[in-house]
Amino acid sequence: MAKATPLNSFLDQAGSLSKFSFRFLWQWFKPRYEGSEFLRQCYVIGYNSLPLIGLTGFIMGLVLTMQLRPSMIEYGVESQLPAIVGISVVREIGPVITALIFAGKIGSSIGAELGSMKVTEQIDAMQVSGTNPFKYLVVSRVLAATLMLPILVILSDAISLYGSYIGVNIRGNTSFNLFWTQVFDNLAFYDVLPAFIKTFFFGFAVGIIGCFKGYNSNKGTEGVGRSANSAVVVSSIMIFILDLLAVQITDVLGFN
């Protein structure tokens, strides 16, 4: 065994996480499929996150609009406010902020839940009860997170653009139709699709890291807290790294 230097433990974590991800991909294709548990997790992870995501999205759109307005007026392009907010929300801020909130809510709850299940032997109990806990707990959660986050991001985008509409109308006067026309006029497929595709990866990252941290939780309640905490930290960092990768890839592919 190598010494527990920070670099070593980092590499160890990265290696274990990769192994865990491969295990996920491997188990995912094999029966038996935990359909009802997957749906339950979709409900918990997706639907139950909507109020929080909606609220933050709304505030984000509103604040962004109000913050941008003075500069836009200075440059005489106040009428472009919906376009600017639309592009920045759809391309970057919507996916990233939503994913971060999602990491805070879902990453920590998965980490804590699986962590406490691990610590109180519930995972062992499942295995003894003829259930593959990896499938039942990990696969269903990771899949649910991967599929639910894109939907949350789309809804959050819509809500935050509505917030922006309200923000535009606090000081100015833009009709609902004109606002949306301006937003859509300035969006292209290459704005929407890369942003949409990257949210699947964000969702996957949050799910797999949450599960990884929880599933490998150490004994004791302190371990549970640490799993939840590091699930959020690592998945937040991961979101930014993936975002960086996404922008580079879309750039290379010429969609920017």
Partner: protein
């Protein structure tokens, strides 16, 4: 119950996504019926797929593709809304412009007053040559060169006239005073014209600097304005020089006139230098040519699409002043 909520949630998300994609697609004319029009340009100035096409300022379609036909000809293929089939005629003119101050390129289709059949799918419409600032500068440069050579000749002549008594020999020729007088008048006319044009150019430059007029937005390039300015200054100086020359000649002529009238013969010895006569004549010709060339350039400038509006306005103003009088 939870499944119902989950279903509603997922469907709402998918609905928003589809709506978003549909709205974008609609803006790109991906749905609904449309037809194709083409136009050819020497230079498309960075026009790209997806840029808007406007007819009389209304968005009617998008650029589908820009293809290269040969080394000097590009073809722009546009998707136009079917509704415009009853509006766009075959003789419509297509031009490329910029949307706003720093906006995207747009294709403008503008109607021409003459009657023509309606445009069909796949028609190639005539294009208006986009404004090319390089060419404008080249023209002004030509003018500059012309004026420059004229000025040099003039200077030389004036020096000769000032320094040499040979002038008097020239003036001995009979009938010369008449010729000189005529030349002087010509020069004066030329310089007057030159002055007018110089003033016109000055005004343009000022307008450009203040960002007025149709060209104001395009000519943000200050080096262009500087070049234009310099040209005007040169023209002006030529005009001044020509002016002073003509005054001198005029003085000389009146002096000779007086001498000839009074029958004094003190200049006879000086009048033998025939070379000088030729040179002087040539100079005068040069001045004439120079100003003529300048006139032509100016005329060309007037027809240039960029300045047309300006001159038209100037004319209107002149008419207005005349009416007032």
């Amino acid at each position: 119950m939870n499944n119902v909520k989950l279903g509603a949630f997922v469907l709402a998300g998918l609905f928003c996504l589809i709506l978003l994609l549909y709205m974008i697609g609609k803006n790109r004319n991906m749905f609904g019926s449309n037809f194709i029009l083409k136009s050819r340009f020497e230079n498309v100035q960075g026009l790209k797929q997806g840029n808007n096409v406007r007819y009389a300022g209304i968005d009617v379609g998008t650029v589908k593709k820009v293809t290269i036909i040969n080394d000097t000809l590009m073809e722009v293929i546009m998707i136009i809304d079917n509704k415009m089939k009853t509006v766009i005629h075959k003789n419509a003119l297509v031009s490329i412009a910029t949307d706003g101050l720093v906006g995207n390129k747009v294709v403008n289709i503008s109607a021409v007053k003459q009657l023509a059949p309606l445009a069909q799918n796949g028609d190639i419409l005539a294009s208006k040559r986009p404004l090319d600032t390089d060419e404008m500068l080249k023209k002004l440069n030509n003018t500059n060169n012309d004026i420059g050579s004229v000025a040099e000749e003039l200077k030389y002549t004036i020096q000769r006239i000032n320094n040499s008594n040979a002038l008097w020999s020239v003036l001995n020729e009979k009938g010369l005073p008449q010729n000189l007088k005529l030349s002087a008048i010509n020069i004066r006319q030329a310089t007057a014209r030159a002055k007018d044009m110089a003033n016109d150019l000055y005004a343009i430059v000022n307008d450009v600097k203040m960002g007025k007029g149709s060209i104001g937005s395009i000519l943000t390039d200050t080096s262009f304005a500087y070049n234009l300015n310099e040209a005007v200054v040169k023209i002006k100086s030529v005009g001044d020089e020509a002016d002073s020359l003509s005054r001198q000649i005029s003085d000389a002529v009146s002096g000779i006139q007086r001498d000839v009238d009074s029958g004094k013969g003190t200049i006879h010895s000086l009048l033998k230098d025939s070379l000088l006569v030729i040179k002087l004549n040539k100079s005068l010709d040069n001045i004439q040519q120079g100003t003529d060339g300048f006139n032509q350039n100016m005329e060309a400038l007037k027809h240039n699409f960029l300045f047309r509006g300006y001159f038209r306005r100037l004319e209107k103003q002149k008419i207005g002043i005349k009416k007032d009088q």
